[in-house]
């Protein structure tokens, strides 16, 4: 009890210093939470891609070269019973914009008959599936995109594609995909795009790329090779990779945001350690006499070290709590929650990331007090008592 009282007195005897230290730890922790939220979000997105056991088949030369429409039937013929290769879904990217709005969309046309089976993580309700199959202008919009543009189920929206036919296309929102991992992508019937292209005079039907859902990891590994072998030595050779590798290629092209943010987070933790260590070393210096007196009275060095560690822990924990709670509240309970990182995902500050940041704050406190605690434990009482300023 006495020790706690002493700890409390120590913390409050220089309130300005305690306050500044808490803040100097809280800010870096907040930066850590924000940057790691983006990194964790990207990893979650990639993990989902890996879990889904999907392959992406693109043209070997470049993703912008489309593949023949007949490839779907040929790939399906690799497993006619559909037990190992569950479904093949042809996909076309049309990007797109809303007239008069500069924000780019990520709009994809998919084979409507296999979309639901290929992308089960969208967890559409039976009613939504019925709507999707019934209406050829049906569109599923990601939850974050829906919030940004104010779309609701039933709304009619017009999108101007960035690719042929380059003419406005009308859609009806049938779902805002609240349970999907990917909050930004918009999905519609590829057949509708084919028809629109035909009407505008773009004849040849080709498909941007194919997504293939496999039954197991072994099947995935098998078909990754088998599909490329099937189309070897044809004019349109393919490059088949699992969805995680396919997605990762896009993300590293985005000026490698995860890596740069991890570096930023590391620097920021370093800043917090130095700031907290500064306070602890100043405290030690100011209380040298006092600590020496304690030791002279018979308190052991380990206890004095523990008092220093405890004070550091308390300061950093309060700072860490503030720094983690700030972004958590701001990005979950204020209008900021709709903030999105372009082309990657919504900024989703999760409790797990905040928890990691709290652990980091504890680590910071240990590091910050390491040197003063060690000095205190080894302090020469006589010399310290003499060093009166």
């Amino acid at each position: 009890m006495l020790r706690l009282a002493y700890l409390y007195r120590n913390l409050t005897r220089n309130p300005m210093r305690a306050l500044l230290t808490c803040a100097a730890v809280a800010l870096p922790i907040a930066i850590y939470v924000l940057s790691m939220s983006v990194v964790d979000g990207v990893n979650r997105f990639l993990d989902n891609s890996a879990r889904q056991l999907r392959l992406a088949v693109t043209h070997r030369s470049s993703i912008i070269n489309p593949l023949p429409a007949g490839y779907r039937a040929k790939i399906e013929s690799l497993d006619p019973t559909r037990t190992r290769l569950l479904s093949v879904c042809g996909i076309d990217w049309i990007g797109g914009k809303i007239e008069g709005d500069p924000r780019p969309l990520s709009t994809l046309g998919a084979d409507h008959d296999t979309f639901v089976q290929t992308f089960p993580e969208y967890r559409l309700t039976p009613e939504e599936i019925a709507e999707w199959n019934r209406d050829r202008r049906a569109i599923i919009v990601g939850a974050a995109a829906a919030r940004q543009f104010g779309w609701k189920v039933g709304d009619r929206i017009t999108i101007l594609p960035s690719l042929p036919p380059y003419q406005p296309m009308e859609f009806r929102v049938i779902s805002t995909a609240p349970r999907a991992e990917d909050p930004l992508t918009l999905w519609f019937h590829r057949q509708y795009l084919v028809e629109a292209r035909k009407q505008a005079g773009w004849e040849e039907e080709r498909v941007g790329f194919y997504f293939i859902k496999c039954a197991s990891q072994a099947d995935l590994d098998h078909f990754r090779v088998a599909i490329d072998e099937l189309f070897a030595n044809t004019p349109d050779e393919t490059k088949t990779q699992d969805e995680k590798a396919f997605m990762n290629e896009f993300i590293t092209q985005q000026f490698n945001l995860p890596r740069n943010l991890t570096i930023l987070a590391a620097v920021t933790v370093f800043v917090a350690v130095m700031a907290a260590a500064n306070t602890m070393s100043m405290n030690f210096r100011d209380r040298l006499n006092e600590l020496a007196t304690l030791k002279a009275m018979g308190f052991r060095g380990t206890l004095i070290s523990a008092i220093i560690q405890a004070e550091s822990l308390f300061l950093c924990a309060v700072g860490g709590l503030l720094g983690a709670a700030g972004p958590y509240v701001a990005f979950n309970h204020t209008p900021l929650r709709d903030f999105t990182v372009p082309l990657i995902q919504q900024l989703d500050v999760r409790a797990a990331t905040c928890g990691k940041a709290m652990l980091m704050a504890v680590g910071i406190s240990v590091l910050a007090a390491l040197w003063p605690a060690w000095l205190a434990a080894r302090m020469n009482v006589v010399a310290a008592l003499r060093s009166l300023e």
Binding site: M16, R17, L20, T21, A23, A24, L27, P28, A30, I31, L34, S35, H59, R60, S61, S62, I63, I64, N65, G95, K97, P104, L160, P161, S162, L163, P164, Y166, Q167, P235, D236, E237, E249, T252, Q253, Q254, F255, L257, N260, L264, V267, T268, F270, V271, A272, M274, A275, A277, N278, T279, S281, M282, R285, D286, V341, P342, L343, W371, E389
Partner: protein, 411 residues
């Protein structure tokens, strides 16, 4: 540098004439070595990140500024957002020749319209030993391109019209594998046609230096294309670019036209968003540094009560004391800043300073080099001195207000 307005007003009412000597502050910093060192490290870390970010922004800015040729217009299919997803038919290309206000080629007497096709090829990055690959733009052009894109300078030979030859931009040659003169790269829809690199070119540091150029008909054939991607036009010296753009976008032609500056600004949009976000984060870090400096200076003032009182007694006014402490913090921050800039420069040297980034919708990489130039370093240092001074203001005010006589009595 640390002449704070408050300091000046206080000084006006003072009779003292002498400032505290610089060497006094310098020595004071070394009186509490560990504290000074830790604060310097905090400031250094923040400066290193800040300098890196400013260099990145400067590299992007200069690359885009070079591209901003006001007399050049890029024409896309209406609705397309980039050259790589635009497709223009030959009929549309012919309509462009009737647009008024275009510059005329003195030799052929025809309007300066460069039909172009943009595709891409995946090439390994040299920076990480080829572990990752980037999408490099391949542009099919005719001889007109060199009259329209005036800043393109050949270094060596140009591709010959009939043969499978290409020239590469100098940044692309530096950043991606297999692009040295004499190398052969596989292009074409099935990546089955070997093209020989016969020369390099510069484009004044602009984004085109990240591209590979070849003869348009040959590349269109290799990629099975009958449609062009885009057209680049040069406006006559006496014509108004706004009017020409309106004519192209009008009912007669119905294509999308923008000046080169606008086009590249839009492509760099994503990266600018990232930079803005990074700016906010670095700003927060700078605030943490301010607090850390304040913490140090408060301790310094508290530990030097008698010393400050002594200075007051021998005739240094409160203004001098205040200015002195702000100056001391600024020196401290400056040391950290110099260290941070050095760390940033070392990082760029060791880890690599070539970056490439995706255009917002092009899906091709634009490569550029980040250099910590003296101007950027000076900007970073100026910010850091401000951080130091801001952190010192309140502690310095406390020092300036110390009562001289009772201060002397303090232990």
């Amino acid at each position: 540098m640390a002449e704070n307005p408050a300091a000046r007003t206080v000084r006006a009412s003072e009779s003292s004439i002498m400032g505290l000597p610089l060497v006094y502050h310098w020595r004071s910093l070394f009186a509490r070595r560990s504290t000074t060192l830790l604060t310097v490290l905090v400031v250094a870390a923040v400066t290193a990140v800040l300098a890196w970010m400013l260099s990145f922004a400067a590299a992007l800015r200069s690359s885009l500024a070079v591209a901003a040729d006001g007399r050049k217009i890029i024409v896309l299919k209406r609705g397309a957002t980039a050259e790589s997803n635009s497709a223009i038919r030959a009929e549309d290309m012919n309509l462009l020749t009737q647009v008024e206000g275009l510059d005329i080629d003195p030799e052929t007497g025809r309007a300066l319209i460069s039909p172009e096709m943009l595709v891409q090829v995946q090439l390994p990055r040299l920076a990480d030993g080829g572990r990752t690959a980037a999408n490099v733009a391949v542009r099919g052009v005719t001889g007109t391109a060199f009259s329209v894109h005036r800043n393109v300078q050949l270094d060596g030979r140009c591709f010959a019209a009939g043969s499978r030859e290409v020239i590469v931009g100098r940044t692309a040659a530096r950043q991606f594998a297999g692009l040295r003169v004499g190398d052969t790269i596989n292009l074409g829809y099935g990546s089955d046609r070997g093209y020989t690199v016969v020369g390099t070119f510069s484009a004044g540091g602009g984004p085109m230096e990240s591209e590979i150029w070849g003869y348009l008909p040959s590349l269109m054939n290799a990629y099975n294309r009958t449609l062009y991607s885009s057209a680049a036009l040069r406006i006559a010296p006496d014509a108004d670019s706004r009017a020409v753009i309106e004519r192209i976008e009008g009912p007669a032609v119905q294509l999308n036209a923008s000046t080169e500056a606008d086009y590249w600004r839009e492509q760099a949009m994503l990266v600018r968003v990232y930079l803005a976000v990074a700016g906010v984060l670095v700003g927060l870090m700078a605030v943490a540094a301010v607090l850390s400096v304040a913490n140090t200076m408060y301790a310094s003032v508290a530990g030097r009560t008698r010393e400050i009182a002594m200075l007051r007694t021998i005739g240094f006014g409160p203004g001098r004391i205040l200015a002195g402490f702000v100056l001391e913090a600024a020196i401290l921050a400056l040391i950290g800043g110099v260290l941070g800039c050095a760390a940033c420069a070392a990082w760029l040297r060791l880890v690599g300073n070539t970056k490439d980034m995706f255009g917002a919708t092009t899906f091709t990489s634009m490569a550029f080099q980040i250099v910590l130039d003296p101007r950027t370093a000076a900007e970073a240092l100026a910010c850091v001195v401000l951080v130091g001074a801001a952190g010192a203001v309140f502690p310095a005010r406390r020092a300036a207000r110390l009562p001289a006589i009772s201060g002397l009595r303090e232990v």
